[in-house]
Amino acid sequence: MALIDLNGISFAYPNGNLVLKGLSLRLEEGDKIGLLGENGAGKTTLLHIILGLLKPAKGEITVFGKRCETEQDFKKIRGAIGLLFQDSDDQLFCPTVLEDVAFGPLNMGMKRHEATDRAERTLDKLGIFHLRNRVPYQLSGGEKRLASMATILSMRPKILLLDEPTNGLDEKTGKRLISVLQNYPVRAWIMISQIQSTIEAMSNKYCQMNGGRIDLV
């Protein structure tokens, strides 16, 4: 059984721009897919469709063997799939980093002290425990990225969808993020990146998006 199975997905933006044309993709256990493609090829759109943030005009989405159609179906899978947004400012909104990282676990129904505990451990793993009481929007770009990574990892997702995770990071911070991800017990991931070295270091499969479809390279 594939973890994620997309079949014949078509999607157009309201302005009529058809970005996905009958796209199909299978994510199997242990897959670390590096997703390549030009700007505007629909890579980000694809990740948003997997989580039900955008609704495709046509096609089937199956996650963990279950068909996902309604908002209720997607709500159930969102805790298990972590999406790292391209822009960290979209992801962080709480008054402190700690509260932001604890937000997901609290929504999953954890008790306050459990959520705090987990948030602190996640921050520690990413090496940013010292930022816990800082205001997220006042962090530097690299710190913001690590903090948004923490907000996702604190929910202990099984699958990661990473939208340009090392984009805009310096080499040292980028490497730290990569090593955290490589040591994180995840079942599979899809990663978008324009940086060749990141893709090579972190993928065991490569997909190329072209003309609204996906080809295994």
């Binding site: 709500k75 972590g82 979209d90 709480c94 008054p95 509260e99 937000f103 929504n107 929007y137």
Partner: protein, 252 residues
Amino acid sequence: MICERFASGKSILHSADPRVKILLAVLYAFVTVGLESQEGQILALLGGLLLVMAARLSLKEIFRRLFVVNLFVMMLWLILPWATTGSGIVNWGPIIITFEGINLAFSITLKCNAIILANLALLSTSTIFSLAHALAHLRVPSKIVQLIFFSWRYFHVIDSEFHRMNQAIKIRGFKPGSNLHTYRTYGHLIGTLFIKSLERGESVQKAMLCRGFDGTFWLLSHFRLRPSDICLVGLATAYLFFVIGVEWSPWR
């Protein structure tokens, strides 16, 4: 820029339960608005000052904020003295300055400053996040609470986006003037800002949905009513009763 300058500090008001502070601020405003005697209004202003002192806020910053508020009050002083009917004090041709007009302007000034001082001391000593949480606890509709919180939170983001775009037009040699080119440029700037804000809002909503948001706001440190809060309520309501007593007293 809104930056919660007063929210971090150590005083009895900073550590007080925000729910109590919101209720007291509302009560204080209602009582003050209803005061008709000058003695009562002066006492209300004094009460506001006492609260500010209890909150140990920087007086310089307080006066700076009061100055801004009183610019609006100045408008009333420009209009009310001659626009109110009553017994004239000064007679400048068609303009008659009345005793009632001056009285009215004075009483509005007192009440306005009293309420602002009390609000500064009670509300600005909490972060917006804990105020939003307290409002939710006081059964204010969730939509209003979220609206307040997110307006504040994204004001920063939108403001910095505006500055970035403003810098972008400056480095391309834009000089504002009274001409169509300037108006068109500002039109584009504001239009883009609106669209960007909308898209930012949508992205944030998506990110929150990914993390299982269902309309509930959680706060890590929960409020607990403590003896000092009850003390604060006792003192403040006693003072308000005293003010109302003075207002109604027959010896006044």
